[in-house]
């Protein structure tokens, strides 16, 4: 029940971000330089005269660049912008793929900013959807990488005890103590100048994932140490099972519960790790959005004080974290 709910919720969120190419009205990199930090536009069905419209609409916003107000926009109630469904993306600049179908949009030159815009006038709603792709999957993949490493190394350490155990556990302590920031600098130094969006994504995943194996490996080791002496392991040995067979078939699956709990804790951590990585210039590079670099924007006083809608990525993270939390909880209960 709980499990289904969590899985369904997560699936829904992932489908949403995967469908960014259709659900988002704009290209995430499209700049509207005449609308920096525009506030979110509300959708209406009823106009000022009280007339009901079947087609939702928004009111135009007028930008007053000379105004000293925190949000120098004024809502123009005389100009209604109707929302159209199933529209083709207009060609813009060199980056927007013109002719793509989008779920909704408004007729140019009007713009519809459901969640406002950032400092370049980029549509936050579109960026949120596109950015979710990067962040959610980076978190997921990096966690998978960490856990896989942790599983293998922790499994070996726990199973063979003595020398491998000492070596691997020593290494894990080393890994926990090392200043990651440095390794990251060093890694960046070796990288080629050009990293496409995909390469930098995998780099991000790899870096985050590689740094996190120590904790799970220690936990796995603990589980394996106790699982090693279980009767069914002994029984399989009685049939002449090899070490590899025992590990694969009996011992490592035992660690699954621990790993899932770890996953629920690591995924949020990893999604946010990108905030730090962006600070070092190792995050997803502009103009591609990610929830990490969207939140990094929020860490500036003037944004925090004036533009609350910039926190959209943070709000989006809450249900994601909750659902992972719930998932781990549910999985823990049904071993």
């Amino acid at each position: 029940m709980k499990l289904k709910f969590a899985l369904l919720g997560l699936a829904l969120i992932h489908v949403l971000v995967l469908g960014a190419g259709f659900l988002a009205p704009y290209d995430p990199a499209e700049q509207n330089r005449d609308f920096p930090f525009a506030p979110p536009m509300a959708l209406h069905l009823v106009d000022t005269q009280g007339h009901f419209h079947l087609r939702p609409f928004a009111y135009a916003q007028i930008y007053h660049p000379e105004s000293s107000a925190a949000v120098p926009y004024e809502i123009d109630r005389s100009r209604m912008i109707p929302v159209h469904f199933f529209v083709k993306l207009a060609a813009e600049g060199g980056m927007g793929q013109s002719g793509e179908w989008r779920l909704f949009g408004v007729a140019p030159p009007h713009r519809l900013f459901l969640l406002g815009t950032d400092d370049f006038g980029r549509d936050q709603f579109s960026r949120l959807l596109y950015g979710g792709r990067v962040s959610l999957f980076a978190g997921l993949l990096a966690t998978a990488l960490s856990l896989a490493l942790g599983l293998v190394l922790g499994g070996l350490a726990g199973f063979y005890a003595s020398l491998p155990d000492h070596l691997i556990m020593g290494a894990s302590e080393l890994f926990m103590a090392l200043p990651w920031i440095y390794l990251l600098f060093a890694v960046r130094a070796f990288l080629p100048l050009h990293l496409g969006a995909q390469e930098s994504f995998f780099l991000l995943v790899g870096l985050i994932g590689l740094t996190g194996w120590a904790r799970p490996s220690r936990l796995v080791r603990g589980v394996v140490l106790s699982a090693r002496h279980r009767d069914y392991v002994l029984a399989a040995r009685g049939f002449g099972a090899s070490d590899f067979y025992l590990l694969r078939r009996h011992i490592l699956p035992e660690a699954l519960g621990v790993l899932l709990t770890q996953a629920a804790l690591l995924i949020p951590q990893y999604i946010l790790a990108e905030v730090t990585l962006s600070f070092l210039g190792l995050g997803v590079s502009e103009p591609a959005p990610s929830w990490g670099n969207m939140l990094a924007d929020m860490q500036k006083l003037y944004v925090l004080e004036s533009y609350w809608w910039m926190f959209a990525a943070g709000v989006a993270l809450i249900p994601v974290f909750l659902l992972y939390h719930l998932l781990a909880d549910a999985l823990q209960q049904s071993p």
């Binding site: 279980r230 009767d231 399989a236 009685g238 002449g240 099972a241 078939r249």
Partner: protein, 276 residues
């Protein structure tokens, strides 16, 4: 089974012969200074003729399970010799080479612990076949179904997990797995403990039937002398890592010679304490 060398050796020779077996465990945890050695077996001599049912009895901690594990090649004894089917077991390589392992299998004390809760019945029974590289996938599945049927589990049992079986059914599953490796000697380590009387009787019947059908040799490890009386033809009493007395069951139950044997006899719930 027919091609096995075990068939060829004569019936008057013991199937299993153990000489001076000893085993000590180092007890340690995280604490380097707390090393201590617990001598579990201190020179065990034992013979089991083929086809016999020998019961090993003794107080808990007397070394029964340890002996069972050494005999089933799950642990390496520190010294002593084990002869099985006329062949001396090399103690060094008990865990290597699955195909060349002696045909000794063990049924564990608590199937709750000895059956992997994540595997289905079929997977559990197929495991020995898989490890020894017996047949192809389909053959193995067929063999597993046969074995499950043999121990009296229904046709639908194959896909179920251990947790979906009752205690008695789990015992049956455990026996089926041991049989999959086609043992000659079956070590039954408290295989009937913790069961209801009715189930205990059913499992005991199953094992007796199997023994009769397949000419298996049983080494029972039991604590309930009432069961010993019924299941074993000979009894060995263990105490502090040694076998202190071996005798035919009837004789031992009537007149045990060793103090541990006498102690065990006294503890049998024969005379109702209350009703008298």
């Amino acid at each position: 089974m027919n091609s096995d060398p075990a068939e060829k050796f004569s019936q008057d020779d013991a199937l299993l012969r153990v000489r001076g077996l000893c085993k000590a465990y180092a007890r340690r945890g995280n604490w380097a200074w707390s090393h201590s050695r617990v001598e579990s077996l201190r020179g065990v001599d034992l013979e089991i003729p083929a086809g016999e049912s020998l019961a090993l009895i003794g107080a808990s901690g007397s070394g029964k399970s340890s002996l069972a594990r050494c005999l089933a090649c799950l642990e390496k004894p520190d010294c002593g010799e084990i002869w099985f089917a006329g062949r001396k077991l090399a103690l060094e390589d008990v865990s290597a080479n699955p195909r060349g392992r002696p045909k000794i299998q063990m049924v564990f004390q608590d199937p709750g612990l000895s059956l992997n809760p994540r595997l289905t019945a079929t997977e559990i029974v197929t495991e020995p076949l898989l490890i020894t590289g017996w047949g192809a996938g389909a053959d193995r599945a067929e063999r597993a179904a046969e074995l499950l049927k043999l121990v009296g589990l229904g046709a639908d049992a194959g896909g179920r997990l251990p947790s979906q079986f009752s205690g008695g059914q789990r015992r049956r599953l455990s026996i089926a797995r041991a049989l999959a490796a086609e043992p000659i000697l079956l070590i039954l380590d408290e295989a009937l403990a913790g069961l209801d009387l009715a189930t205990q009787a059913q499992i005991a019947n199953l094992l007796l039937d199997l023994q009769a059908e397949r000419g298996l040799t049983y080494l029972w490890i039991l604590h309930d002398l009432r069961l010993v009386a019924r299941l074993a033809s000979r009894v060995a009493v263990m105490d502090e890592g040694r076998i202190v007395e071996t005798a035919p069951t009837a004789q031992l139950l009537r007149d045990p010679q060793s103090p541990p044997g006498r102690l065990l006899k006294e503890s049998i719930l024969t005379t109702p304490l209350w009703i008298s």
